[in-house]
Amino acid sequence: MIKRVLSTLAVYTVSILVLIWIVFPIYWMITVSFKTGDKLFNPEYIVTSPSIEAYITLVTQGYFRVMYFWRQLLNSVYVASLTVAFTLIISIFVGYAMARLRFRGKTTVSTLTLTTYVFPYAFLSIPYFILMTAMGLLNTHISVVIAQVIFVSPYAIWLLWEYSRSIPVEVDESAIIDGASPAVIFYRIFLPLSLPALAAIGAYAFLFSWNQYLYPFMLLSSETDLTLPVAMGFFLVSDEAPWNLFMATATLYSIPPIIFYYLFKRYLIAGLVAGAMKR
């Protein structure tokens, strides 16, 4: 009995500590965003007189470091949306082919797909910069999208491939007997059954793009073209340290992924555990 109580106590203690470890930075980010400029360096854990001054400055673009806030937020949305779209299109077709087709070199293709994951994407930033320069795509959002899709796709393909294997082939065969064409099988059977995996891939691609710093920094130049994480770097260049504004920007920027997560949570969990068990 005592052993069980102690064990439960230990589990709860560790859980609470881990929770604090994870939640505290988020709590601190939100807390600082509600401080006024003169209270920034008061080490108070609970804001005694919260203010939305920083949020008003931010949404009205009333300070020179956030003068393109909305534009940069839209850039982030645009780049992330295209990354998600292209990743889904590529992964669904390739994943389908890998799962359902038999062709020569299939093993090599699958190995090569996963091998691309071996290279840390930071190492490839300068080669990509050279490549995009040669293609005349530097300073365009599409260059960032292409780079991000290339990095996200291998995992997306692998995930969808694994997931596809959990869809019984017999379903395809039944459809063929009923006279369904491959296109119909793909559209009516494979696509709807793959929705959880696609949601997981979409969320992964979105978050990857949303939080990406290196490639937008390398491939974009103009302040009006930058995505918000890169633009947030401008807060760290001087001694002005408007931390409340910085944290307000970070807080607002954190909201879309949270909404995204809750909208697709059901699919996300189903998709991520796909392939975890063998049939």
Partner: protein
């Protein structure tokens, strides 16, 4: 069925490729239409519609009687400028205005992109690698870490023509920093255009000094070496004795020690100059670390900084400080005194970004460095910041014209003042002639009952008195790698953090510096 799948996949891939191509190449950019009304010599009013599509101007001439379409295709050159993001909006704005004015005068497009101090070197390195650098570049760290190497590798355009046109205007020690060695062409030449410079200034909170029961007037701050430092230690001791709870986290000095900062090595080399009888690198480019005098001065420099920190007069967090962190700590009144390159700290108070003008005029002051341990005049270690044009820049002549325009007296002076005089101009006709560099923001002082500007005149006087000494990369570009690696600071941190034997750390640092020099052949 298998074939159908393959065909389906191929069709899909073609569709994607076609879609992407359509987005990239087919969709035309939105035209920008400007209506211009001009009067031709015959007196006829002519309305023109100038449509800019993808950088090309198409001019349509419209008259009342008839429409005459003249299609004139004009290739407008575009000057690409990459610039270090400023500390203040005014700084960036001044550059933008200068760029726009230059574009208007020359009839060219000017594209200005800003990057953070830490990011712009990476971006420039990538662009150089790709053979696509900007036409003009300005980065705060170029002098310490970038341009000596790039000049050595033959990547920088020779700008002797611009320098020769302005040679008489330059402060000689500042100009000296642009004379770099090109190892590819085996020659020395001017490979950058110096624009502004910095040195370390000392700021302090007068009210905290007064709170400690000491006279806070700048003229009462001791001028001798030991007394100067003991003065600040006494302020901390007295404050803590007076109200331990209130002042337990207030430190005498804010000495940056972070290995990621440039302030740390700037502070280090300044202290070295105080202790040094001989330079680490001689003017003829010889590494001098085997000289016992140099080793001894390095040991004394290590001892001074370690002692300052270990006695508890410097915040423990300073070991991880980056360049803005000593500024932030000072604004937060966590340190009484701070050495800082540029006068960004009072400037931030003046602009009201942090603090207030009341602080600027009444609660803060700037003082000169004390005399050395041997009573000698304080050394003026200057870091000179320059404009760069690359060998592979697309519009080199246009870039040079922009630089000529930008360093002209009025334009550069406007830019320097816009940054609240954070930087000092390297031209005598600006630094020694414009009264701003003698009086600062004097006009606002009366409102706060202050006799004058307590910061700007003191700071700029440092450039006019004593001997200006450039950093050692001027004598040998290999030393730029010592800055890039922060060699001295890395070993200094080993002594403080790991309690590594001090003399052993100095010897190992010397060995590393020798190794760096050996690699630059």
């Amino acid at each position: 069925m298998k074939r159908a799948y393959i065909i389906g996949a191929i069709v899909a891939v073609i569709a994607i490729v076609a879609g992407v191509s359509a987005v990239l190449f087919v969709a035309p950019p939105s035209p920008e239409v400007v209506t211009k009304i001009v009067t031709v010599p015959g007196g006829e009013r002519v309305v023109t519609l100038v449509t800019t599509i993808a950088g090309q101007e198409v001019t349509q001439v419209v008259t009342q009687e008839r429409v005459v379409t003249q299609v004139v295709t004009v290739e407008r050159p575009k000057l690409v400028i990459w610039w270090n993001k400023g500390y203040y909006a005014e700084e960036d704005l001044a550059l933008m205005q200068a760029a726009q004015e230059f574009g208007r005068m020359k009839g060219v497009d000017v594209e200005v992109s800003f990057y953070t101090t830490e990011d712009i070197p990476k971006k420039l390195i990538a662009a150089l690698e790709a053979g696509n650098p900007p036409d003009v570049a300005y980065a705060h760290f170029e002098d310490w870490m970038l341009s000596p190497r790039w000049a050595w590798d033959g990547l920088l355009e020779d700008v002797s023509d611009i320098i020769n046109e302005n040679k008489d205007r330059y402060i000689p020690e500042a100009l000296q920093t642009a004379w770099l060695y090109n190892n590819k062409e085996k020659k020395y030449s001017y490979y950058k255009v110096p624009m502004q410079m910095q040195t370390i200034h000392i700021h302090y909170w007068k009210d905290l000094v007064a709170e400690a029961g000491l006279d806070p007037s700048p003229e009462k701050i001791p001028r001798t070496w030991d007394e100067f430092w003991n003065f600040w230690f006494t302020v901390q001791d007295r404050l803590r004795a007076k109200d331990p709870e209130k002042y337990r986290e207030v430190y005498a000095v804010g000495w940056t020690l972070g290995t990621g900062s440039t302030d740390a090595f700037y502070n280090f080399e300044t202290i070295y100059l105080y202790y040094a009888k001989k330079p680490i690198v001689t003017p003829d480019g010889k590494l001098n670390v085997d000289d016992p005098d140099v080793r001894e001065a390095l040991i004394n420099t290590f001892k001074f900084i370690v002692n300052l920190h270990e006695r508890g007069y410097n915040p423990p967090g300073s070991l991880t400080w980056m360049d803005p962190d000593n500024n932030v700590a000072f604004h937060a009144r966590k340190i009484v005194m701070v050495p800082n390159p540029t006068i960004s700290i009072p400037a931030a108070q003046y602009f009201g970004a942090v603090g207030s003008r009341e602080n600027y005029y009444t609660k803060m002051a700037t003082v000169d460095w004390p005399n050395g341990p041997d009573g000698s005049e304080p050394p003026r270690l200057i870091a000179v910041k320059s404009l760069l044009v690359f060998k592979t820049s697309k519009n080199k002549e246009l870039a040079k014209d922009f630089i000529r325009y930008f360093i002209s007296k009025d334009v550069l002076n406007g830019y320097t003042k816009a940054s609240a005089g954070r930087w000092a101009p390297v031209f005598k006709d600006i630094l020694n002639e414009d009264k701003f560099y003698f009086e600062g923001f004097k006009a606002g002082a009366a409102a706060f009952g202050a006799p004058g500007d307590p910061h700007v005149p003191v700071a700029y006087n440092q450039f006019r008195t004593g001997k200006l000494i450039p950093f050692y990369y001027v004598y040998h570009p290999a030393y730029s790698q010592v800055y890039a690696e922060r060699t001295w600071i890395v070993y200094l941190n080993k002594v403080i953090v790991e309690k590594y034997p001090l003399e052993k750390a100095v010897d190992e640092a010397i060995a590393r510096v020798k190794q760096i020099f050996a690699e630059w052949k």
